[in-house]
Point group: C2
Chain length 292, copies 2
DNA sequence: CTTTTTAACTGACTTAGGTCAGATAAGTAC
DNA sequence: GTACTTATCTGACCTAAGTCAGTTAAAAAG
């Protein structure tokens, strides 16, 4: 092995990224507010409302937290109120001015991010690399939640999904626009579309639609390559089965392909049993069923 | 396109990496020295000797720089002397104690890096991703320099090289141990081994060895995938040709394969002309020559 | 030799960021 | 109701980091 070289590669990464992202933090200073205060404003903008939650997230001393909140309050960016259940705890909200200020910070960050992306001539590759590094460093598990089939995050996931199918099958798959009828198939009470996301970015999805009375079909299961091997697909499938029961399905079917061996292995591992072909999908050559 | 999502992917990367690498900077605090002073010590340990050079690199005010140097001097970690050419300028060196302290910091960083690497179950992929991100963020061009064929950096480059050949040819190539005679072929006055490196990590290499009287052969040209498309191979080949002239060669030959189309294109672009097979390498199917 | 420029240094000052010991007020246990 | 606990706040204090004006001594220009 070349452990010594590997260490140097990681440390070089550290150096280059620290200086590049340091510039990103500098942009926070562009609005004449100290970093600490800006970070608090940002956390509130993310949707955190309780002071204790903010303190835990930012790792701040209660005194310092208090002072930062006072600063923002004096600037008219936030408003604090006592919690209804426990009047000792305080709730924080952005005022209108605070929302505007938060949005200004968001635009600064987006602009900086866009500039970095523009610097790369190999954007797809770079993004995949960023995802893999994020996934390695990220401790929190992805959050699985329902979404409307027309959500932009689903559009993104589907684009990645078809990109991967094209790669695996060695021929081009098109991203099909979803018709209104199809969309209804993926919404309760007929079906469901689930997203797995981390920090608001979709890194996996899976859907359910009606096949026959009492039987649902699992469709569009995809996990971002960077996140594979962490049990996300298993959690996603569990969630889909849970939803299927809630929708009144007694069994689930699905088709897949020998070009997706991990999928075939996954369904076997999850207790799906191979059955005969149940549709005329020319790309499918494995068919599964599971009784719920 | 999914620019919005792409921005969120980069920003998520930023967040996860900042917290992970923040811990790395924390480890600098483990030796009870403020970050600023530790950074100065580190820069000196890297080999910087002139105060102005240090200031430019660290972006410090001259007053602050001076104070940090005084702190390190009082701790007995560095010694300053007036420059011989210009007594206003000062030169800085580590004392023995300073060297020991610097090494202690290096060990801390290495340890932290190793811990991060150990966290990943897909180390090869992770390292490739780290390289690509570094390459995107890094502004400085790689440094091309001579190296002994037995240098560990060359061993690493050769391992990556054969790994890539195996991938491209679809069969396994072995990393061959270099014999003493082979090694001499790659050292002046018979040949040369060049490394292209960034921050001390090899990201490309190329070599020259004698073929016939007056004719040298170009061998082992490899560029880390993360760095391709930035003109490194062109610079490397230029450097090799320069060296070849210095060694008295009038022409260069090389062989390559249709499995390495970028290489074939590169040699065409650099003015090499296709010739008949000049050796019995079963893996080669393209043969080139250039008169210097 | 005098004047100007330059590299590094020194002292005075500012700000960000953080710690810590109470104070205050609301909730909980008895 | 009293005693204890908890969440937040306030004031006093500290350190790291950086700015700035001016000093010192060497080098360069005249």
């Amino acid at each position: 092995m070349h452990t010594e070289t590997d260490i140097r590669r990681l440390r070089r990464f550290n150096r280059s990224v620290t200086s590049a992202l340091g510039a990103m933090d500098q942009s926070f200073l562009g609005r004449g507010r100290p970093l600490g205060v800006a970070r608090v404003l940002n956390a509130i903008g993310q949707g955190m409302t309780e002071v204790r939650e903010l303190r835990a997230y930012l790792g701040l001393d209660s005194g310092l937290m208090s002072r930062n909140l006072r600063t923002l309050e004096e600037e008219g960016l936030i408003a604090t109120t006592a919690s209804e259940e426990d009047a000792r705890q305080r709730q924080v909200q952005l005022t209108e001015a605070g929302r505007a200020e938060f949005n200004a910070y968001e635009r600064l960050s987006d602009q900086h991010a866009l500039e970095i992306l523009g610097r790369s001539r190999r954007r797809e590759e770079l993004l995949a690399a960023l995802d893999l590094v994020s996934a390695t460093f990220c401790a929190t598990a992805p959050h699985i939640h329902r979404a409307d089939p027309r959500d932009v995050n689903i559009a993104y996931a589907m684009a990645e999904y078809t990109k991967e199918l094209s790669l695996r099958f060695g021929r081009s798959f098109a991203v099909s626009q979803m018709s209104e009828e199809e969309r209804l198939d993926f919404l309760p009470p007929r079906g469901i579309f689930l997203l797995a996301s981390v920090d608001g970015v979709a890194m996996g999805c899976g859907a359910l639609r009606p096949l026959q009375p009492g039987t649902g079909e699992v469709k569009r299961v995809w996990i971002n390559p960077a996140w594979r091997g962490r049990g996300v697909s298993r959690r996603l499938m569990d969630a889909l089965e849970q939803e299927a029961r809630g929708l009144g399905y007694g069994s689930l079917r699905l088709d897949t392909s020998r070009h997706l061996p991990e999928a075939v292995a996954l369904y076997h591992a999850l207790g799906y049993r191979e059955i005969d072909r149940y549709n005329d999908n020319p790309d499918a050559d494995h068919f599964f069923e599971k009784l719920l």
